[in-house]
Symmetry: C2
Subunit: 366 residues, 2 copies
């Protein structure tokens, strides 16, 4: 999440008394989180329809003047989308992608050096001061700035050389959902137009139809093991690492669960020291070789007694259902299914995903 939410599109400064109101029961009207997450497919459709010519022009620009480096600027869920973009760009284009540390511009007052960079800024509100300072510094240094923001009238959008408005519609839920999925789809669309990769382009265009099907997928088998959990590891790799990070944040925010994300490679070293019998793990495994790495790690942890739930695009027995697709978009389908699980788990734990128990007030991160 960004440091500051715009009051029009999101209101985070609920008081503690509101936040600690009586738990919402599962039989009430759908939560804002569930309603907004369910709009992701339509939102991706609007994004693609509105930004077709801007994406085409960006692709031509990037092929004509390839950037020396790509820098992403984002926080919270938007930063998870940026991680997804990093893996796409590094694997399909071969440019290194640096995640901008917002404190470099906002706390250390250092200018980034060198033109020739492509900056991709991602933000729901487009108003966070540290994000604005970071992007402004890069822009003054000569970078080409692409902005993926939901608020097309925001200060961040005003800095764009290429504006790709998300068109996700108002996002009032505290937990960002559809804006994260549209940001991820937007990054895949940028890479598809840059590389003229028709298979990836087709995969992106399939999302408005595929995301609603993923949202209907039945992941309730994961509810019972997590209903009384306090700790959890969430595992992904490659394109899927970003959704492990996003799922871990959502489980903290909406379910008061201490969930931490790891790559399937890192988790097999030090972190496994805390995996005891029954320790829960949620894993996201795509249909490609990164999925093999996740499946291998999960098998090892299961043999040590961990309670493993795995979403698996190869449809292994006992796994949470995932539609096999282009490996680059499978994480978006898994994340869409996960958002329903997080909503339902929040309710099952006696919480309200629209009013997290210790809600961060609106904070200006300087």
């Amino acid at each position: 999440m960004d440091g500051v939410r715009g009051p029009i599109t999101k209101e985070r400064n609920l008081t503690m008394s509101q936040a600690s109101a009586a738990p919402r029961s599962a039989d009430r009207t759908p939560t804002l989180m569930l309603t907004e997450a369910g709009e992701a497919g339509a939102a991706v459709g609007r994004f693609l329809a509105a930004n077709g010519s801007a994406l085409q022009a960006l692709g031509e620009h990037l092929r004509a003047a390839p950037p020396s480096v790509v820098v992403t600027c984002a926080r919270g869920s938007s930063d998870h989308a940026a991680t997804y973009g990093k893996y796409l760009i590094e694997t399909l284009i071969g440019r290194p992608v640096a995640s901008a540390a917002p404190s470099v511009a906002s706390v250390y007052d250092r200018e980034p050096a060198g033109p020739g960079a492509l900056v991709i800024a991602i933000s729901q509100s487009g108003k966070s001061p540290d994000l604005l300072a970071t992007v402004d510094a890069h822009k003054r240094a000569g970078a080409h700035v692409v902005v993926l923001a939901n608020d097309a009238e925001s200060p961040l959008a005003a800095m764009a050389d290429t504006q790709l408005a998300l068109h996700a519609g108002p996002e009032r839920s505290v937990a960002a959902t559809k804006s994260c999925l549209v940001s991820m789809a937007g990054l895949a669309a940028i890479v598809a137009t840059w590389t003229q990769d028709s298979a990836l382009q087709a995969a992106v265009e399939s999302l408005p139809g595929a995301l609603p099907l993923a949202f209907a997928a039945d992941w309730h088998a994961a509810l019972a093991p997590l209903k009384t959990a306090t700790n959890l590891f969430v595992i992904g790799r490659g394109y899927g690492l970003a959704i492990a990070q996003e799922a871990a944040l959502k489980l903290k925010e909406t379910c008061a669960l201490h969930a931490e994300a790891f790559s399937a490679a890192e988790v097999r070293h030090g972190p496994m020291a805390i995996v005891r019998d029954g320790f829960p793990m949620l894993a996201f495994a795509a249909s490609d070789r990164t999925g093999d790495s996740v499946r291998d790690a999960v098998a090892e942890f299961a043999a040590r007694g961990a309670s493993v739930m795995i979403a698996d695009a190869t449809h292994a027995a006992g796994s949470l259902p995932v539609t096999t697709a282009h490996p680059a978009v499978e994480p978006l389908l898994m994340l869409q299914s996960f958002y329903r699980l997080a909503n339902d788990l929040s309710l099952a734990r006696g919480l309200d995903p629209d009013a997290p128990p210790h809600l961060a007030k609106v904070t200006r991160t300087l």
Copy 2:
């Protein structure tokens, strides 16, 4: 940690029966972890003495042919050192620093594009296959490769255009300590020679004397709150974010505590949803503006009932003692003090830091 440990310098494939041996009591001989952590100051001295001319030549090379981008390649504790290097390079030199995703080379088979990159590879053993594959791909693409490895005869060291052997001596403890501190000091030395920053150079040269003093600092006030904890947040910002990551890994590995690191900026949003009354937080606050950000976050969490322990280079009342120094090296001093705390906490929790409860066997991460 790296995917593979060399059998000469580190033995991780203890059996489960060894790992679950009777707890070691606090009155036995010092642990390997304590002994080796205590050697960090001398090790930094050896590093500086051995690599003076290589560092000077590297500085001349980097000023004559500034890289367009810096790429770090590392895993585990070495990757935390890389995070420290990222902040130093981005704030003091203004080049973007990308952390190489090892799966890009090892799982996706993608070549990195473009010469003109500076690659900094950091590894205790210098043998991890995915790290070797990543560095090899960058080297073939024309990057200048700097290797910070403890094993100067390793396959990774053989790829170096500039080899800066760590000279940390054998590290047999499962938990890396001195090799991480020497790697961090080495990154600070690279930046000092690159920028010809005499204040930073002097700060690096002060470390052989200052680290032993930091190792003697009394942080035992943090023992009691953590002795029975199960969960913990570790907070840093800027140069100090890396040591929050390193401390969180060590607390998992040696104390079976689910510790997770956050920047002082990110933690104030979604993650604070799980901070309840008495939730423990360990914070590292430098004497500069990043420390102000940490102090502000800690005050906010304390007001919400969190149990906060803060190491503070401004010597606030009730804080864990830290010597004020150049802000770029204060994190190394705090980490050195923390290593003793982690060792003592492990023993206080009835564990043996040299034999973590669910030890990762030697794993070849592909």
